[in-house]
């Protein structure tokens, strides 16, 4: 321990301080940039996730599989009871299925009679959920399909039953889905049978809120909530869930999609719909030669 030692220590301290100040400046700059030019930084984030997450996800994959198995084991003892209930339900459903088939046939015949043209069917691609949002403040998932699979920003995603969320951020091979439960999720919806329009607004709980209702009095718990297709982002008539009154008295949506077990989801491909540009031109009365001649 001499003077030289003391000097090195002091020098190291200075270097540390410079390093700390430099790092802080860079970090503040990154944060400010995120605040100012959010889309670009979020695109950078998506690129980074696209590169990194599939590479660190594979060792974690086994963990996911094992814990899912354990969950399955837990449910094993409930299985017998559930099986019996399901059989009963199946009996009832068979009746419904018959009715639905007959109705569908009848519908098709009536449509043929009336010359109705249906909008083209929506194509989809199925992806697996490979990662969670990773943050307790966000409700989203990462899918293993991306740009090269034809996923577009804003596409709707559904599971077997109902709407799951909206694609927000697409990478080369991955894409992020904002779930309906996220606080940033807003989906225009139509309530059947009352025909009212509303906004399904996520608030970080299991059941999103129904907002901007015209008259909530006409609603009944159990009314169906489907997407309205307003705004042109989602196709119309995708099932979202059913209306339910929350414990706080506000109207909420009980989601049709099973959020506890989202392993695979379908990303709907938006059909490139034709656009109608501007209003039509003025339609003049038909001019024929006779009237033209008389005017002159």
């Amino acid at each position: 321990m001499g003077i030289a030692d003391g000097q090195t220590i002091r020098m190291w301290r200075t270097v540390r301080r410079i390093l700390l100040v430099g790092a802080s400046t860079v970090l503040i700059a990154v944060f400010v940039l995120w605040r100012i030019d959010n889309p670009r930084v979020e695109a950078l984030r998506m690129t980074l996730i696209d590169r990194v997450v599939p590479n660190i996800a594979w060792p974690l994959d086994s963990v996911t599989v094992i814990s899912r198995r354990l969950q399955d084991l837990q449910t094993l003892d409930e299985l017998y009871e559930e099986n019996r209930e399901l059989r009963e339900e199946l009996q009832r459903m068979k009746g419904w299925r018959e009715a639905a088939l007959q109705l569908e046939e009848k519908n098709a015949r009536l449509r043929a009679l009336n010359n109705v043209r249906l909008s083209p069917r929506v194509g989809f691609i199925t992806g697996e959920v490979i990662a969670d949002a990773g943050s307790p403040f966000r409700q989203s998932g990462l899918l293993n399909v991306g740009l090269i699979d034809g996923v577009q920003d804003g596409s709707a995603t559904v599971d077997g039953l109902g709407l799951v969320g909206r694609v927000s951020g697409v990478g080369e091979r991955t894409s992020r889905v904002i779930l309906l439960t996220d606080v940033h999720s807003r989906v225009p919806a139509l309530l059947q049978p009352s025909g009212q329009r509303a906004l399904v607004t996520g608030d970080n709980t299991n059941a999103p809120l129904l907002e901007f209702l015209e008259n909530p009095q006409t609603l009944r718990p159990g009314d169906r909530v489907v997407t309205s297709g307003d705004g042109g982002l989602f196709p119309a008539d995708i099932l979202v869930g059913t209306v339910a009154a929350g414990p706080d008295g506000r109207l909420r949506v009980r989601l049709a999609a099973d959020y506890r077990r989202i392993d695979f989801v379908r990303v709907l491909r938006r059909a490139p719909g034709e656009r109608i540009e501007g209003p039509g031109a003025l339609i003049s009365p038909p001019r024929n030669l006779e009237t033209a001649g008389r005017a002159e």
Partner: protein, 178 residues
Amino acid sequence: MIPSGAPAAFMACLYLCAATLMIGVPLLPLGLSPAAPLTPDLLFALTVAWVQRRPDTVPIFLILPVFLLADFLLGRPPGLWTLIILFTTEFLRLQASGQQDRPFFVEWVMVAATLAGALVLFLLVLKLALAPHPTVPTLVELWAVTVAVYPIIVFLLAYLLRVRAPQTPSSVRLGGTL
């Protein structure tokens, strides 16, 4: 400072591996529904525990990229939490140096207080920047689970990875090292 056990470079590699794991755990697609239990901030617990044991093996230029990557991957506003962590670790480094034999309970309380301060700062800056910010109950919950998980992380570090404070002989400590 007298290095104990493995060399610093090896320990740094070990830290990087553990940190990658801690980033990966919250990414596990297990609880997609909001009712799923909150994942504690494992990376924070790991880093803070490590910094107080082997401060020489986790320098700033190692913490910075790890946390910046975590910010990007875990959907946080990039840069802010990293910045707060830098100051937190510097503070804890200074606190821990020279008192290797303090009881664990004291360290635990220290970490809990620091995390509370860090989260308050995080929330405050986000509010001032008018950025979307988490709610206070979620932050309190996050604080609670992270503080609860801290002893487990410390235990794992000490007995699985052998990350312990260097045992300085008292004569050397009296001699006044760094």
